[in-house]
Each structure stands twice: as structure tokens, then as C-alpha cells.
């Protein structure tokens, strides 16, 4: 009995000689078993069709599911109630007052700018008026 290391070191000719001289027990039904296995694999291959393309219906179904999921998700998210910043109505009122003050300050800036622009626009008219007099 040769060891694996010895077999690995053998060349092709020596291997052929060893194969010819050795007596291996081959099962009697080996050939029929191989044929049966080949036939079975061929039958399986015939049953399984090649890669199938998804029909358009599948796409519509997917799009429908995605749209429905989006609607439900957004709907649920929107239902989340907001929490009042203030529990005390007086504090809330003070905040409203502060907010209105802030808005009026900003409006004031706009009105001042408009007033300045009007003054600038009126100057040439005044000059023309004086010239005509």
C-alpha cells in the first residue's frame, strides 16, 4: 500500500503502471447507476425552464404596493399630534405678543425702505418743479 506522499511524487507513467497492476473492486451496477444519474439530471433540466422574465403585472403590483405603503406611512406620520410648547395660556399669550412684535419690526424695516425710496423718487420731481417755476 502506497502512501499519499509517495503517490504525489510519482510521474504519469508510474501512475499508469500502478493503475494497471492494481486490482480495484468495481461495483457490478456502477454503469447502470451512472446512466440512471445522467438520465435523472437531464429530466430535471427539461423541467426547469430557462430564466423567466417578470410580467408587467408584477411591476404594476410592486408599484401599487409601494404607493400604498407611501400613503400609509405618510398618513401615520401626519397623525402624530403636536405638543403645545406652553402649558400656561399666559405664557402662550406672551409668546404670541412677542411673535407679533417681531413681525411688526420686520414690516417696519420694509416700510422704512419704501419710505426712503419714495423720498429719493420725489427729489427729481421737486427739482423739475423748481426749474419750471
Amino acid at each position: 500500500m502506497k502512501k499519499i506522499k509517495d503517490i504525489e511524487n510519482m510521474d504519469w507513467e508510474a501512475l499508469e503502471q500502478a493503475a494497471g497492476t492494481s486490482q480495484a473492486n468495481v461495483p457490478a451496477d456502477l454503469e447502470s447507476s451512472i446512466k440512471a444519474a445522467i438520465l435523472a439530471s437531464e429530466a430535471m433540466a427539461e423541467k426547469q425552464p430557462a430564466t423567466r422574465r417578470l410580467p408587467a403585472r408584477a411591476f404594476y403590483g410592486f408599484a401599487f404596493a409601494a404607493a400604498l405603503a407611501a400613503v400609509i406611512t405618510v398618513g401615520v406620520a401626519r397623525q402624530r399630534p403636536l405638543q403645545d410648547t406652553f402649558d400656561d395660556p399666559l405664557l402662550a399669550y406672551a409668546e404670541v405678543q412677542k411673535t407679533f412684535r417681531q413681525i411688526s419690526d420686520k414690516m417696519n424695516v420694509g416700510l422704512e425702505l419704501a419710505s426712503e425710496a419714495r423720498t429719493t423718487a420725489e427729489k427729481p420731481a421737486e427739482i423739475l418743479k423748481k426749474i419750471n417755476e
Binding site: 404607493a67 398618513g75 395660556p89 399669550y93 417681531q102 413681525i103 411688526s104 414690516m107 425702505l113
Partner: protein, 160 residues
């Protein structure tokens, strides 16, 4: 074909649901870093309106008559540069989609203030202010059924 129409309808509904409002903008940004946010609900406005002897510091700007017509106040003040552009876009989308009219725009020394209102000649149903400074952004949205004359008078008094 029916399914296609159904899908398109659902898509449109979902797009509509993603549309901006003062509430959705508040929800989106109120929890962000460097953001201070204020929300006053319709219930709180009703509560304020029911206080019998509301002491007003400055009598000239008594807001009690107008308070009763308010349905919600959303305020976002941000010093977060990461969300600045996103807030501006969302506010622009909101005022565009809700047919808000530009009431005033003022630009001075790098500061931009835009004020929008929606409603009719008698009633203001929505009031939006977006103030952009170099490092700060303020978004204010007030919902309600405010008489335009009352609102104008209030601001006129405050501006004196």
C-alpha cells in the same frame, strides 16, 4: 389599464400628502439641532381667549380680539446652516402650493424678509414670514380666520 390609473392616483395622493404646510415644516425641523421652535395649538388659542382678565402689558397692542381667530402658530428659529437651504425650499414650496401672495419683501444689509398671506379681501387665512439673516433664519406661520382689517390695525399700532 385600470391598475395603471389606480397606481397613478395613489402616486398623486402620496405626492399631495408630501406637500408642505406650516405644520409639516414645523414637524420636520423643530427637533433639529440649533433650532428653537414654538407651537401654539388651536385649543391653547381658545384657552387664551377665555381668560377673562387677561393682563396686557402694553394696552396699545392688545391682541385678545385677534387671538380668538387664530388656529395655530408655528415658529422655527434656526442657526443651523445644514438645514438652512432645505427650510427655505420647503417654505417656498409651501407658499407656492397654497396660493400665498407675497405681501412684502425687504432686503437690507444682507437680511431678507418676505411676508406672505393667503385669504381674500376680508379674511386672512394664513400668514407666513420668512426672515433670513447671515447666520439665522426665522419662519413664522399663523393659521386662522383673521379679519384683514383687524390684522392690519394691530400691526399698524405695533409699528408706531
Amino acid at each position: 389599464m385600470k391598475k395603471l390609473i389606480l397606481v397613478a392616483t395613489l402616486m398623486m395622493i402620496s405626492v399631495a400628502m408630501f406637500a408642505q404646510s406650516g405644520k409639516s415644516i414645523y414637524k420636520k425641523y423643530s427637533d433639529c439641532e440649533k433650532v428653537s421652535a414654538v407651537y401654539i395649538s388651536p385649543a391653547m388659542f381658545r384657552l387664551i381667549g377665555q381668560i377673562p382678565d387677561l393682563e396686557v402689558e402694553d394696552e396699545s397692542i392688545n391682541l385678545t380680539p385677534i387671538i380668538k381667530s387664530l388656529k395655530g402658530l408655528y415658529l422655527i428659529n434656526s442657526e443651523n446652516p445644514d438645514i438652512r437651504e432645505s427650510v427655505i425650499k420647503d417654505v417656498e414650496r409651501f407658499v407656492d402650493s397654497d396660493d400665498y401672495e407675497l405681501l412684502m419683501e425687504a432686503k437690507e444689509e444682507g437680511e431678507i424678509v418676505r411676508i406672505y398671506t393667503v385669504g381674500n379681501e376680508q379674511t386672512v387665512k394664513g400668514f407666513v414670514m420668512l426672515a433670513l439673516e447671515a447666520t439665522e433664519l426665522t419662519f413664522i406661520c399663523i393659521d386662522g380666520e383673521m379679519a384683514r382689517d383687524d390684522l392690519d390695525a394691530t400691526f399698524a399700532k405695533m409699528m408706531k
